[in-house]
């Protein structure tokens, strides 16, 4: 699966653009604010129906225009698939596959998978556990349609339980039977999610470790651990034990909504002791593991979107990374950089087809360099 053609209309800073892409490495170079990342984001739209950077669709429309449109022609085992996404101001986003509109965007997600690596990812390390759960949830739900449904049910149950805890505190009357009913429902969905996360992690962690080792040539020891309260006891027991505390705090303190990933470098927390370069390497390995996982589940190679990836990495790691992704394990790649010479230098001697697009203020020039 690869993207042959990308056309944009009134998207971000592009009035109109059309790119004929290469099945191997596509590089977008240009100055700050030229619109390199916007091209990656457009591809992200075609893959996941939304922007990677901004959840508000209407802000993707070019200034003073009424609509935007992104169209991509994918090659899927030799046959063409035309995907288009358009948004008129104050209307619903429309998503079409071969001119037929989707009833549910969820039906599209996962068909043309992609993985974006961007400087924003550092939030996975430095922000709260919610960001890390979001990462896990994103990866699993791209390969398991039921996961998201289960998660929605769990979250609704959680809201219900918290509302009940507040009610109990306000009215001073505790109905253990009602609490038990809500608990049972939460346990049913919570345990399913826990099992799915556990199964995912057991595949994901070894792949992550392999990628990190390769990338850094064993320069440092890193560890990725999945932690959940459900590892320590059964969910039912946890809820029972914490009921007094929950009533005091008026919220649920135990459950899979407390799951977290812990990242460490040489035995110390990555957030506090990892250098910026180490953190970046860690995130890249994390995202590449996501890539490998998607590939394993889908049976074909996702698109790899690399935004400003060379920043903060040393030359050795950059070279390693590019050797790695140019290998057979990875398919079509899109990357952005401000420095054209650097890109050409890096790919010299790697022996893959490199196509460079010069981007200037929302205008793309296609120049072949082999």
């Amino acid at each position: 699966m690869w993207l042959e053609k990308l056309s944009l209309l009134n998207f971000k800073n592009y009035e109109e653009a059309e790119l004929a892409l290469s099945p191997s490495v596509n590089a977008f170079t240009g100055d700050n604010g030229a619109g390199k990342t916007n091209l990656l984001d457009a591809i992200h739209y075609l893959s996941l129906c939304k922007s990677y950077f901004n959840p508000i669709d209407s802000q993707q429309i070019k200034n003073a225009c009424d609509f935007f449109m992104i169209q991509g022609v994918f090659d899927m085992d030799g046959s063409n698939e035309v995907i288009s996404c358009s948004l008129k101001r104050n209307q619903k986003k429309q998503f079409r596959r071969n001119k037929k509109e989707y009833q549910r965007l969820a039906d599209h997600i996962g068909l043309f998978p992609s993985v974006m690596i961007s400087p924003n990812d550092v939030s996975i390390i430095i922000e709260g556990s919610e960001e890390r759960r979001r990462f896990i949830d994103n990866v699993i739900s791209q390969t398991d349609g039921h996961y998201l449904d289960e998660l929605i049910i769990y979250n609704k149950n959680l809201l219900n339980r918290n509302a009940l805890l507040k009610r109990i505190a306000e009215r001073g009357q505790y109905d253990p039977e009602l609490m038990e009913v809500i608990d049972d429902q939460m346990i049913a969905s919570g345990e399913k999610i826990f099992e799915k996360r556990k199964a995912f992690m057991s595949v994901f962690i070894p792949v992550f470790e392999k990628h990190y080792k390769y990338l850094t040539e064993d320069a440092e020891q890193v560890e990725l651990i999945y932690d959940s309260p459900l590892f320590h006891d059964e969910f039912a027991g946890l809820l029972k034990k914490s009921v007094e505390r929950d009533r005091f705090l008026q919220r649920t303190t135990m459950g899979i909504h407390k799951d977290d990933l812990s990242f460490s470098v040489n035995g110390m927390p990555m957030k506090k002791f990892g250098s910026q370069g180490q953190q970046k390497s860690f995130l890249i390995a994390l995202k590449l593991a996501q890539y490998s996982f998607l590939q394993l589940k889908k049976g074909y190679k996702p698109l790899l979107l690399l935004d400003d990836i060379f920043d903060k990495l040393d030359d050795k790691r950059i070279k390693k990374l590019m050797q790695m992704v140019s290998h057979d394990d990875f398919g079509q790649i899109f990357l952005t950089d401000t420095n054209r010479d650097r890109i050409e230098g890096i790919f010299e001697g790697i022996g893959v087809g490199l196509t460079i697009f010069e981007v200037r203020k929302g205008v793309v020039q296609n120049e072949e360099t082999e």
Binding site: L159, L164, R167, L178, E180
Partner: protein
Amino acid sequence: MNFSSRLLENAVNEFSKLPGIGQKTALRLVLHLLSQPSEDVGRFSESIVRLKKEIRFCKICGNISDAEVCEICTSPKRDKTLICIVEDTRDVMAIENTNQYFGVYHVLGGLISPMDGVGPSELNIEPLVERARTSPVQEVILALSATMEGDTTIFYIYKKLKDFPCKISTIARGIAFGGEIEYADEITLARSIATRVPYGV
């Protein structure tokens, strides 16, 4: 909107409080009433006033009724040992329209949803337990919506009633009549298979 009359404005404001009625529709309805004969409008307003003043809730089942006990609960043809538990009056009407049910009802007046501030004490659940305790009930049918709130309520009522000697059942959930399997959603279909029934003619 600018009104030429205070009376008109008041009437429009009252109408637009109704569900699904905006200012423009309200104005249309009010102007229509104004053009009708006085007797018609009198009957209209009287029926609303009497509705609110005189209507009662059956003290046995909680259904809307003219008398202290509703017609279904007083009917000698009805099987008093079979109770169907429903969310509200609309569900009673829906089941009555099938002409297939000859037991009595119990109207909860809502479903348990702590998120929306509805707990068991806001619902007609305690009288149900009392009913199961004091009258010879053989079977209770839980005919509640297949939503999360419905499930919570079913589960809660089950816990309250499980020590009584009556049978507790729920309405079947699965493929609708005339429905094709390929168009059934996955959750319904999975559940239909998990809770399949033995076939007999």
